[in-house]
Amino acid sequence: MPNDPTQTALPRLDPRDWDSHPSYLYPGYRSTAKRGPTQPLIPLKASLGELRQPVYGHDCIGEFDHDLTRNARRNGEPLGERMILTGQVLDERRRPVAGTLVEIWQANASGRYVHKVDQHDAPLDPNFLGAGRCMTDSEGRYRFLTIKPGAYPWGNHPNAWRPQHIHVSLFGQHFASRLVTQMYFPGDPLMQYDPMVTGTPEKYRNRLVADFTLDVTEPDYALGYQFDIVLRGADETPFENR
């Protein structure tokens, strides 16, 4: 049956909190100059289409997709410092976002991406791809086991280095709550020089930095980092999705 917005009490999505996000054009990050939109955005009241998240099932998650130390092994274990990345995905009303797909990708311990266009002169690790995915549980929690990524140089400005980071992609409950972000590590001295970090409003940068915590650390095995993520929410429980 076609969707009829008059028939259902529809959730209304909270607006994007523009103050919390970087702007499209930021001179410190050179690539924004020719790629960021210059015209003001046109307000669009979210309709059903924008409220739909993609449907997917647990069958899109393989057994080792959450374990980057295992999901690309060829002849042994990947090199580097094992770490656990875990956290809770919440909406702005502090409600857990269950069943959301969390996808991550990252450099290896040497600061090298598997990606074919990454030409940084640091070794690839035959046993590490650097990509993973999982789904949040009923409490909105996700958990990955991985290798701490290395810092790496890039061409944005002389002697530019990206701080150690892991890329994170999420949908949340709605198409319009889509978020692509990066998590950083506490105390990383490179953050102050990084235009992706400094392009983020200063007051909110700390939301991009995980906590190191012994609560998550597994003795004799892996260091633990907690990275909680807050997405746009809606003013009521949306329709069932899976």
Binding site: H21, R35, P54, E92, A107, D228
Partner: protein, 201 residues
């Protein structure tokens, strides 16, 4: 809760997808040894609606085609339906969501295999919702694809009506029929005189 959020609760800031998303988000498309949960095929066997290819380029402020953009689309099937579950998607042969990077096509296009959507509700013109992100975008953008052979419906669509008339053509895909196949061309211009309309959704 993470310490930053205990004292500073709110939306997690967006960061750029960067240049290296391919093996994480679109691994199969790019030939990496990992699978991907979504791809460029929305319409499976039995999907309701006219089979189309939705294709185009992402173009930067210098007029160059962007070879490292990620385009995601969401749309209903030809009857205006979104599947509410994986089982329903399977039953109606339609996934409603697609993802395509611009790095594998020889012309650096995104190419989706889908159906022409039906209207979701009376008064709305058929359209496709689009998310574009790439290196150099610290925050993704939302736009919409409308269809040039839906002039009457487009003229009544409230969202198109909210767009300055001079800019609304940037939201209209062009129909091309070739050898029995139907394609719609939709280029996304990030900047310039004909910058695509992006929405605050």
């Amino acid at each position: 809760m993470m310490s930053a959020l205990e004292t500073n609760f709110g939306q997690t800031p967006s960061q750029t997808v960067g240049p290296y998303f391919a093996y994480g988000l679109t691994a199969t498309q790019y030939g990496y040894d990992f699978d991907q949960p979504f791809d460029a095929v929305l319409a499976l066997d039995g999907a309701s609606g006219e089979r189309i290819r939705l294709e185009g380029r992402v173009i930067d402020g210098d007029g160059n085609t962007v070879f490292d953009a990620l385009v995601e689309i969401s749309q209903p099937d030809g009857q205006g339906r979104y599947p509410a579950s994986v089982d329903e998607a399977r039953a109606i042969g339609f996934r409603a969501f697609g993802r395509c990077g611009t790095g594998t096509d020889a012309q650096h296009r995104f190419v989706f295999h889908t159906v022409k959507p039906g209207a979701e509700s009376p008064g709305e013109a058929p359209h496709v919702n689009v998310i574009v992100t790439m290196r150099g975008l610290l925050l993704h953008v939302f736009t919409r694809v409308y269809f040039d052979d839906e002039a009457d419906a487009n003229a009544r669509d409230p969202v198109l009506a909210s767009v300055p008339a001079a800019r609304s053509p940037t939201l209209i895909a062009r129909r091309v029929e070739e050898g029995g196949a139907v394609r719609y061309r939709f280029d996304i211009r990030m900047q310039g005189a004909d910058e695509t309309v992006f929405f605050d959704v």
